[in-house]
């Protein structure tokens, strides 16, 4: 289970953007989180991905409460979760060729020997061919870069995937292609998914269930 238990979070203690929100994902379950712009969905997604420390509340990953955030999160917890964001250009190191971008989590966790096989396999899955893998982020399109970011999120075989507006800047065909990659991965590995977004037609087609966040924006 991935449990978000009474989370309060934000950027100003006096005006948190997420207030006492709870959400539980069963193993293998795909949950779509829908809500208006600015309601705090991305903030909650970052908390769930252990990238943003909440002011209050607990994140529990497969029974273990989260014990740290960002680089202080224990490796076993950090690597249990794969994350894809809306803006691939803001989350991708501009110096790294796509091949190394995908391999980065393997290198960072001392699993270099797995790089050739795993990167090759994932590049295939997301539809990136040989020559493209040698290019840097500014030399590829948003769609191609997002394919690489999705491959990177899957490279450690996470049990949980968090996709925050993964396809918001992509065309319909690339969207359908990336969703198909996520679903194939989930079918093979039994991973759970939290997909955050505002496209109810997309998330209702994609996920087992959707949760509508009603809180109006606090700003």
């Amino acid at each position: 289970m991935l449990e978000l238990d009474t989370i309060t979070a934000g950027y100003d203690r006096l005006r948190p953007v997420v207030r006492e929100v709870s959400l539980t994902l069963a193993p293998g379950e795909a949950v779509g989180l829908l809500g208006p712009s600015g309601c705090g969905k991305s903030t909650l997604a970052k908390v769930a991905a252990l990238l943003h420390r909440p002011y209050a509340g607990r994140v529990v990953i497969d029974g273990e409460p989260a014990r740290g955030w960002r680089h202080t999160a224990p490796r076993a917890q950090r690597t249990a979760i794969g994350v894809v964001f809306q803006q691939p250009r803001m989350s991708a190191d501009p110096r790294l060729p796509l091949r190394d971008l995908i391999a980065e989590p393997l290198r960072a966790t001392g699993r270099r020997d797995e790089v050739p096989a795993r990167v090759g396999e994932l590049a295939d899955t997301v539809g990136l061919t040989g020559e493209l893998l040698g290019r840097r982020p500014h030399e590829v399109s948003d769609g191609q870069l997002q394919r690489a970011c999705l491959a990177r999120a899957l490279v450690l075989r996470p049990r949980w995937l968090i996709c925050d507006e993964m396809t918001a800047m992509l065309d319909a065909s690339t969207t359908a292609a990336l969703v198909a990659v996520v679903e194939e991965y989930r079918a093979a590995e039994g991973a759970g998914l939290l997909a955050v977004g505002h496209d109810s037609i997309l998330l209702e087609r994609w996920c087992d269930r959707t949760v509508h966040w009603q809180t109006p924006p606090t700003d």
Partner: protein, 324 residues
């Protein structure tokens, strides 16, 4: 029929790259856009849509070579010098609603200060009226007056987009160019943003022309009069929005695949990826992904009567005739 505000003829943009390579970002684009009319330009990411927009704003990088012609309000934009572009084009004849508003806004100045600065540059608003005019400008794009003192990084994606839209609307340019204006917005905000753009198109005695570049087909369907589909740097189909989204649907196989990929339709991707713009095939650039391709498609189809395809989907009436 009103005279065209924007007239694009055989427009091509190529980028010179290292080692004598070229990237053909836009090739042979031709279309007209009249006042009061909205044309949606749709296509896969990286197909050349934004380069076309940059060409219309005179914002191409130094390694770009252009050919053809693009006139706005009678003024030729291609090859215009920087002074003309700065004084008579950007903000005045062509206004841009940008793709990444957060990057487009100046990070160290509040939204209110940026609106006031643009008002000073483009209108004759007296100094003491500036604040009130800024509030009114914000209001036009549904940007809350309570947030005028915020810096861009303190805004959600939706509010940043509205701030950028408010800036673009100030100069009352006859051509409004919106590059992915709704990325990251929720459906209500998408609808409000594009309705606002549509209202701007219909505004005034003759109205304005709106070229909306988008991957959001629902937004295009909502406000566009016509749809232009771009693939690998070429416009492959231009059609009335009504028949494109309704019956009989698009005629070009790529456009049909794009619509079929929507989650409310088949949700099936077009197989494969588009070709590299630096390494285009001689024939139809869609052939490798096209289920209608034949040997004929090794020759590039001409763009005629709004379509570039050797084997377009038959419209129902014609299908029976062809097979009779």
């Amino acid at each position: 029929m009103t005279a065209a505000v924007l007239s694009v003829r055989d427009l091509s943009v190529r980028f010179r790259m290292r080692g004598d390579r070229h990237v053909a970002a836009v090739t042979g684009a031709s279309f007209d856009l009249a006042a009061g009319e909205c044309l949606a330009l749709v296509g896969e990411s990286g197909c050349g849509k934004s380069v076309l927009a940059s060409a219309l704003l005179g914002l191409l990088p130094g390694n770009a070579q252009t050919a053809g012609s693009a006139t706005v309000d009678g003024l030729e934009l291609l090859g215009a010098d920087e002074r003309t572009l700065a004084r008579s084009v950007r903000g005045r004849r062509v206004a841009l609603v940008p793709q990444s508003p957060a990057a487009h806004l100046t990070p160290v100045r509040t939204v209110g200060a940026q609106l006031e600065e643009t008002l000073r540059a483009l209108t004759a608003t007296p100094r003491r009226e500036l604040r009130r005019a800024a509030v009114a400008a914000a209001e036009r794009a549904a940007f809350p007056a309570s947030h005028l003192d915020r810096y861009p990084h303190e805004l959600s994606g939706g509010l940043a987009q509205r701030a950028a839209t408010a800036l673009a609307l100030i100069g009352d340019a006859p051509l409004l160019l919106a590059d992915e204006p709704t990325t990251g917005l929720d459906r209500d905000l998408v609808n409000r943003t594009v309705d606002e753009l549509r209202r701007h198109t219909d505004d005034g005695a003759t109205g304005r022309a709106l070229l909306m570049i988008t991957h959001d087909l629902a937004a295009a369907e909502r406000i566009a009069d016509r749809v232009a589909v771009m693939y690998a740097g070429r416009i492959v189909e231009i059609a009335e929005a009504r028949t494109f989204f309704g019956e009989p649907g698009p005629l070009h196989p790529y456009a049909r695949g794009l619509l079929a990929a929507l989650p409310e339709r088949d949700f099936t991707p077009i197989p494969g990826m588009p070709p590299e713009l630096g390494d285009l095939p001689d024939g139809c650039a869609f052939a490798a992904r096209c289920d209608r391709a034949t040997g004929l498609c090794a020759t590039r189809p001409d763009f005629a009567s709004g379509l570039a395809c050797h084997h377009p989907a038959a419209v129902p009436g014609e299908r029976s005739a062809a097979h009779a």
